[in-house]
Symmetry: C2
Subunit: 363 residues, 2 copies
DNA sequence: GTACTCCCAGACAACGTTGTCTCGGCTCTT
DNA sequence: AAGAGCCGAGACAACGTTGTCTGGGAGTAC
């Protein structure tokens, strides 16, 4: 009474391959093209035929093949966008990722992500891969210092958006945090609390965000009639461990600072660790650039210059989508404001103990 | 109303569309098929011709079209794998993501990710999208309670790996943390420090990991001749805020617990916040399931049952790749051990203050 | 010198889909 | 009643690539 389930479910076809529009057309008794019209939601199909097609689709469990469709379409859209991030597992990157995923989903776009790890070579590799997969557009948190290669690498007209850091040598919409202003505000905040000896702890100087945050720091000091003391400035701290040792050594030399400004997440955390080890976490003021989870639960809670990754991501997505929709105006820069969140560590006054020149082992 | 805005600026072919193998063939003076052979690294091409092809590729800046290639190849591989995660921006998920990205990169596979957000409907949608894009295989951190739909949704033979939680109704390799054992170990640890009144704080009970961790908790209590007190058990805490209020109310009733076991990250953090607000963070012992960044910098530092997302990810990737390589053995389950990390909060003794029945407002 | 083998390169078709064109039938108009 | 206009549906080709097959030249053995 029942047909055997195992032997070649539908007639002639060898059952191994998945059904195509042709199979659907045959089952529904219509032409291939009519199936295509139904699948693409064209309104010019007789409802009765459309219903036949729909039930054939259901019966055969047909799935549209986006790859084949893309190949044939005249606009060649893949409905995939590429997203190059520093590292998908780092909180800032993954916050961006999530927001962009959500925006993309609303437009039925798939996001292709890749981690770049501060390696310009990897940035180029990923761009190449994504080009071979014909991504419709690209959002890049750049690490390379020269993006002129994009001109050759991307098909002309491919929308590009830089986020977090500016690209160089390639004109594109750019979404940036107000790094200079935010860093200056943090430094001014420390100055306002009486600090005159403020250390700067930063990532590699060649990273533009680090550079801009340093600029803000210097600018605020200059406003106050001070100069950046080279002994209190450390660049190149790209891991927690490096930051930690840098801070340790700051306090093992004469005239240690009374406050720290750190230009990045990992650095801030390294600074916290070091201050803990030194027993100075309630004595030395600290402001970090970029917020991080649990900053409010540390003791003292860490004052930060918070970025707004959600807004950055939404803005970047919007800029990309506008281009995908045909906008061809001049590329612009979108500044996303930062926000100084006072939590305690940035409001500590200068420690008398440190001010009175106890230069040797403070522990 | 308005005339077409742009009259196609390029009348002739070259310029707008990107070069194809045909263009390369013409430039190099060889056949299309020879270009294909060179691009695919086949060794049967005369080196001289191959060199001509290579320089034509360079001259035209040719990029292989992976989509077209996939369509034509007999194995139909897209070299893309799908990864369904709870939320790409959550630390556990993004740690998995990163590891799997790295493993995939080594095999030149692209990872397609999507966030599921505890929504079974979204899980199905994503599976459907990834199928339409012909992903070669799928790694799923499942939320749905019934995966029998995968049988119809995925082409037969598509490798699937479940990670973090088991799938149901679909046989596939599965990578799980030792949830029961880990939770039991944590509970035993609290018992060993003298606690007899240990609260359980968990996510929705329908989530299998939550369920297993609860089982472990109950099992350890039973071993010690105790019973889980329903008044000390809270399920359904899926946000930090919910966890926080649950803990607050625990301590605003008679006979509060002297220790807390929380079954998940966000819950642990909510518990920390609540204990802080109550001023009980040095009085009530706490162990959380799943490690989180900065747990060691809180005061007291938080004892956790650490999972090993890196190993889980690598194991899942390896299982998937083995199937992609043709392995067809019975699906297996891979258990990834957890690790109790003693940091302080889990080693606090029962607080005499709480033991002596100060049942009213403890603040 | 012939016959056989081997191997490289090209011709051709096909993957699953959509753009274009055509055709037949219907409606509308006078 | 007949021509114009419209519209829905099918035939066909093509997107960029690779699998298969064929042809011809070089190499080898007799």
């Amino acid at each position: 009474m029942q047909a055997p389930r195992e032997s070649a479910p539908n007639g002639e076809r060898p059952g191994r391959t998945r059904p195509t529009m042709n199979d659907v057309a045959r089952t529904a008794g219509v032409s291939l093209k009519t199936v295509s019209r139904v699948v693409n939601g064209e309104q010019t199909v007789n409802p009765e035929l459309a219903a036949q097609v729909q039930s054939a689709i259901a019966a055969l469990n047909y799935r549209h093949d986006i790859g084949a469709s893309t190949l044939r379409r005249s606009d060649r859209r893949t409905d995939m966008i590429a997203l190059l991030l520093e590292d998908v597992s780092n909180p800032f990157s993954s916050a961006l990722h999530r927001v962009i995923e959500d925006e993309a989903r609303a437009r039925r776009l798939q996001v292709l992500t890749g981690s770049v790890d501060e390696d310009p070579e990897r940035e180029r590799e990923l761009i190449r891969t994504f080009t071979m997969r014909r991504a419709d557009g690209v959002i890049i948190a750049p690490v390379s210092s020269d993006h002129s290669y994009l001109t050759a690498e991307l098909p002309p007209g491919t929308p590009v958006v830089f986020v977090d850091r500016p690209g160089q040598g390639f004109a594109a919409d750019t979404v940036l945090a107000t790094n200079v202003t935010g860093a200056a505000e943090a430094t001014r905040h420390l100055l306002a609390h009486g600090h005159r000896s403020i250390a700067y702890l930063g990532d590699h100087y060649h990273i533009s965000t680090a550079q801009h945050r340093y600029e803000g720091y210097v600018a605020a000091l200059t406003e106050a009639g001070l100069q950046a003391d080279p002994a209190l400035v450390a660049h190149g701290l790209h891991t927690t461990a490096l930051a930690e040792t840098a801070v340790m050594s700051l306090f093992h030399r004469p005239a240690p600072p009374t406050a720290l400004f750190s230009s990045q997440n990992l650095v801030t955390i390294g600074a916290v660790r070091a201050l803990r080890r030194l027993g100075l976490h309630r004595a030395v003021a600290l402001i970090g650039f970029d917020d991080f989870p649990l900053a409010d639960l540390l003791e003292p809670a860490v004052t930060v210059v918070a970025q707004n990754p959600a807004l950055m991501g939404r803005t970047a997505a919007a800029a990309l989508f506008r281009r995908l929709d045909g906008h061809t105006g001049e590329p612009g820069t979108f500044w996303i404001p930062t926000d100084l969140i006072r939590r305690g560590s940035g409001e500590l006054p200068p420690s008398p103990q440190l001010l009175h020149g106890r230069s040797d082992r403070p522990l």
